[in-house]
Structure formats: C-alpha cells, structure tokens
C-alpha cells in the first residue's frame, strides 16, 4: 500500500515538472522582457533588478504595435465572417444531401487540411497577381477559401450527429423554405460547434504568417509579420523583442484561458469523429 502511494506522489510531482517545463519558454520570454540593456549580460534566469518598463514603451512607440494589432483584428474579423458564411451553408448542404457530388466535395475540402500552404503559395501568388488583388483584399478573399476546410469538417459532422432531422422535416411540412429552416432551426442549434470553430479559426488567422507576409505592404503588416520583421532588426536588443512578444502573448493567453474548453473540444471532437 505504501509503495502504491509513493508511486502516486512521484507521478504527481513528475506531471507538475512536465507542466513547468512546457511553460518555461513562455516564462523566460516574460522574465527577460523586463530586463534593461546592462542586465542582458547577466544570466538568462536571473530576476531583473528593477522592471525595465521602458522596453515596452520603446516597442510600443517604435514599432506601432497597436496599429499592427488593429490590422490583425480587422483581418481576423472579416476573414472569420466569410469563412463562417461559406462553411455553415456548405456543411448544411453536405450533411443533408448525400449526393455523390457532395461526398466528393467533402473529401476535396477535408484533403485541404493536409495541404501545406507552401504547395499552393507560388501558383496562388501568380493568380492573385493576374487578378490584380495581390494585396490586403486578396488576403481576406483567399482566407474565405483556404480557411473553410476545418470548419466544414467539424460542422458537417456536428449537423449529422447532433442536429435532429425531424425538426427540420416538420418545419418543411409546415411550409418553411430551406433557407428559413437553416436560419431559424439549424443555426441556433449549431452554437456550441460554432464556438469551437470560431476560437480555433481565429487563433489560426491571427497567427498566420506566410500569406500576409507575401501580400501586405509594410503599413498594413499584421502582428506576426511586423513582429518577425522587428525580431530580425532587434537581434542585439532581444529584451525589446521579447517585450513585443509579451505584449502579444498576454492577450492570446487570456483568450485561450477564458475559452479553454472550446479549444479542447475543437481538438478532440474534430479528431475523434473523423
């Protein structure tokens, strides 16, 4: 019995260590973002003698982080709107009409989850150049297509599994049209799945780097693009670079911690139903 208990304690201690190990890089980012220039030569793990808040001021002033944040938010919100519009409609059709066309469409859409962006990067850039939308408008329009694979995958399974067909059929018999059934009956029932889709898609859009870096001009840079460019310039002043990262990670962490369960649900449900 004693042996058994000891094992439990050892497991718990080990798990706590694992958690700390995973958090260490983020902790170090925050810790070192508070160090002043002379302190950077001191060991990486030492506490700063005083909090160098000027790092944050310098970064905020010198790099227009607020502007980049605003750009990111605009891109995320507009793209998310289009993605949700496209994917809700398509998922409903795929779930409720099992034609060969829809089955093939579903496979082609889900295969998009396996495609590295670098595969279409070159032809896409050429296409956007020909259409004369190799800019912020093109960026959002591309997301309307590029971002729908995961939402459609999740929503289609959710509609098939958890939205009762009987409700729709009785509304249909009462004379409601398909669009009305979709808006009045199906959409409200989709809320839990939509919360998951929105959180995961929003984080993906916010973090995406390669496409915006190719399409945006320097005044329109989103957070990942502007910060990575600065990181290249700040090679010697990494305390300021890390201050910039801290400014970005804090809202991300808050977003994650408050919506944790949707993330967990998105990862596991999306996976286990496939």
């Amino acid at each position: 019995m004693k042996h058994f208990r000891l094992g439990k304690v050892a497991t718990s201690v080990f798990l706590v260590l694992v958690a700390l190990l995973f958090f260490l890089p983020i902790y170090l980012t925050i810790l070192n973002s508070f160090k002043s220039m002379p302190e950077m030569t001191r060991p990486f793990y030492s506490f700063p003698e005083r909090l160098a808040l000027e790092n944050f001021r310098l970064v905020a002033e010198g790099t227009q982080i607020a502007h980049a944040f605003l750009m990111s938010l605009i891109v995320v919100v507009i793209s998310l709107g289009g993605i949700l519009f496209n994917s809700c409609l398509a998922s409903y059709a795929i779930a409720r009409n099992n034609s060969l066309f829809n089955r093939v469409l579903y496979i082609v859409l889900v295969a998009g989850l396996m495609m590295p962006f670098t595969v279409i990067m070159i032809p896409l850039m050429k296409l956007l150049g020909m259409l004369k939308i190799a800019n912020k408008y093109g960026l959002v329009l591309v997301y309307f297509g590029l971002g729908i694979s995961f939402p459609i995958f999740l929503l289609t399974n959710f509609i098939k599994g958890s939205v009762p067909l009987e409700l729709e059929e009785s509304a249909y018999l009462d004379g409601a049209g398909n669009v009305r059934i979709f808006i009045a009956i199906v959409l409200p029932l989709l809320k839990p799945a939509l919360a998951t889709v929105i959180t995961l898609t929003a984080v993906w859009l916010f973090n995406d780097f390669l496409l915006p870096s190719l399409l945006l001009s320097s005044k329109e840079f989103t957070i990942p693009v502007s910060q990575s460019q600065l990181a290249g310039m700040f090679l010697q002043q990494w305390n300021q670079m890390l201050a910039g990262f801290t400014i970005i990670f804090v809202p991300l962490l808050a977003f994650f911690l408050s919506l944790q369960r949707y993330f967990v649900r998105g990862v596991t449900e999306g996976a286990l139903k496939g």
Binding site: A93, K126, P224, S228, A231
Partner: protein, 290 residues
C-alpha cells in the same frame, strides 16, 4: 431528401467559388507551372515536360532537403506520440482533477502561440538559455555545445516542434482513453490483469482510432511546418534544417526558379497524401471494433 439537388448546390456555391479559385485551381496550376521553364514571376514560360523534376532529383540541394524532411518528420512524429501518450496515460491514472486540468492547459498552451514568434524565442533559448541552464547545474561541458551549429541545429528544431505539438496529441489521447468503456477495464480486473496489462492489452488496442489520427496529424504538422523553422534557422546553418517547405520558399523567392520550386511543392504534397493514406489504411485494418 427535402434539400433538393439544386438548393444543395446553391448552398455549397460560395465555398465552391472561393475554395475552387484559391485552393483547387492553384494546385493544378502549380502542376502546370512545374512542367514549364518559368524562372521569376514575370517571365514568359515554355513547356518543358519533366525537366524540372529530373533537374531537382539530380540536384544535391533537393536530395539534402528531401533527406532532412524525412528525418525531421519521422523523429518528430515518433517523439510527439510517445511523449504525448506517456503524459496522457499518467493523467488518466491521476484522480486529481486540479492537477489534470493544470497539466493539460500548460502542455497545450504552446500550440496556440504564434509559431513565427516561437521560433525567435527558441533561438535565444538555445543560444543563451540552455547553455546557462547547464552551467547553472554544473555541467560545464554541455553548456559549451552550440545548439544551432550544423551538427545540432536539426535536433534543436525537432525539440521545438515537439514542444509545439505534444499538447494537441496529448488531448486526443486523453479523449481516447476517457472513451474506453469502464466495463472493459473491470472485466480485465476480474480476470486478474495488473495495471500494465490493462493498459497494453485493453486500453491501447481500444484507442487505435486516436493513434491513427495522431500519427496522421503529427506527420502532416511536421510536413507543413514552415514558420517555426524559418524564424529559428532560416533553413541554415549550411542547409542542415532546410525541409521541403523552406526549400520551396527559398528556391522560388531567392533563386527565382519557380518551375523547380513548383515541382518540389508537388512532390511534397504527393508524399503527404500517400503517407497519410498508407497510415489510415494499414492501421484501420488492425483497429479493434469495440
């Protein structure tokens, strides 16, 4: 079916337009470009058949990139799955809810942070943090290792990728383990199975589904990875971390050889599709239908 074919088509139309134009079309257009001699973006192009493929297959840089991709993808997929399953099993045996949720949050956390910025952070952790940690605990010889030098850069990149993606795999394993019918475990206990036997003989065969998903997921994740490697090493030093996505980017934008980059892109996509299909089919056959 009360959603007629015509209405169904109208519902899918917006997705068809955007996905067709910005995803499906570029895939085929890319195949076409890979058969041309296009160099920079503005140049006129001529059809040259398989020439690009033959050129890159004979090219040392592509062979190197191909080899590095396979090493990187295989090692990350194995490491991520082993560690994630290990943590998931430990958590599954822990009754403390508090500990459970704390560990889950902390291990999953890296997955939501911006990968391009994560790479920069790890650059400093390898350059300053880990050597400082080794000298802190008195391992002076290890603290002198240069983790981003040609001999260690790939391992360093692999460790960071694991850190990024273990949480996702762990969540899927936890969900799988939770879905195992407790009656099956009880039946095992009655037959006198110890906890190790219950894990290996009952639980793990019942979560084959989670294995399939995690293997495909982690492989695809590694095959796709660009941001993190790009910000950590830019493919260097001496091309030791230049996986295929970085090769494609560099060949297209630095060397202006778009035809060749397109050929490499198409090879990358084909590998991913084939590998995923092989895993899904072969593991599905062994799946226990409970």
């Amino acid at each position: 079916m009360f959603l007629s074919a015509k209405k169904s088509f109208l519902f899918t139309l917006p997705s068809l337009v955007f996905y067709g134009l910005f995803v499906v079309f570029p895939v085929f257009y890319g195949v076409y470009l890979s058969f041309t001699d296009i160099g920079s973006f503005i140049q006129k192009l001529n059809f040259i058949g398989f020439q690009n493929y033959l050129t890159i297959f004979a090219e040392g840089r592509f062979q190197n990139s191909f080899r590095i991709t396979i090493i990187y993808v295989t090692i990350t997929a194995v490491l991520i799955n082993v560690i994630a399953l290990f943590i998931a099993v430990l958590l599954d045996n822990t009754r403390s809810r508090y500990l459970n949720s704390v560990v889950r949050v902390f291990v999953y956390l890296p997955a939501i942070l911006t990968p391009i910025l994560i790479g920069f952070i790890w650059y400093y952790i390898y350059k300053l943090g880990i050597p400082a940690l080794f000298s802190l605990v008195g391992l002076k010889s290890l603290s002198r290792i240069r983790f981003l030098s040609p001999s260690f850069a790939l391992s360093s990149v692999i460790m960071t990728t694991c850190w990024l993606n273990i949480g996702v795999a762990m969540l899927i394993y936890i969900a799988g383990l939770l879905s195992v019918d407790p009656n099956m475990i009880d039946a095992g206990s009655i037959d006198g199975a110890n906890s190790w036997q219950k894990l290996v003989r009952i639980k793990l065969p019942l979560i084959t589904h989670a294995f399939i998903i995690n293997f495909v997921n982690t492989l695809v994740f590694a095959f796709k990875q660009f941001d993190q490697i790009w910000s950590m090493t830019k493919g260097g030093p001496a091309s030791t971390t230049e996986t295929l996505p970085l090769y494609i980017y560099l060949v297209a934008f630095q060397n202006a050889q778009i035809g060749r980059a397109s050929a490499a892109a198409y090879i990358l996509f084909s590998i991913i599709l084939v590998v995923s299909l092989v895993i899904i089919v072969s593991l599905n056959r062994r799946a226990v239908r409970a």
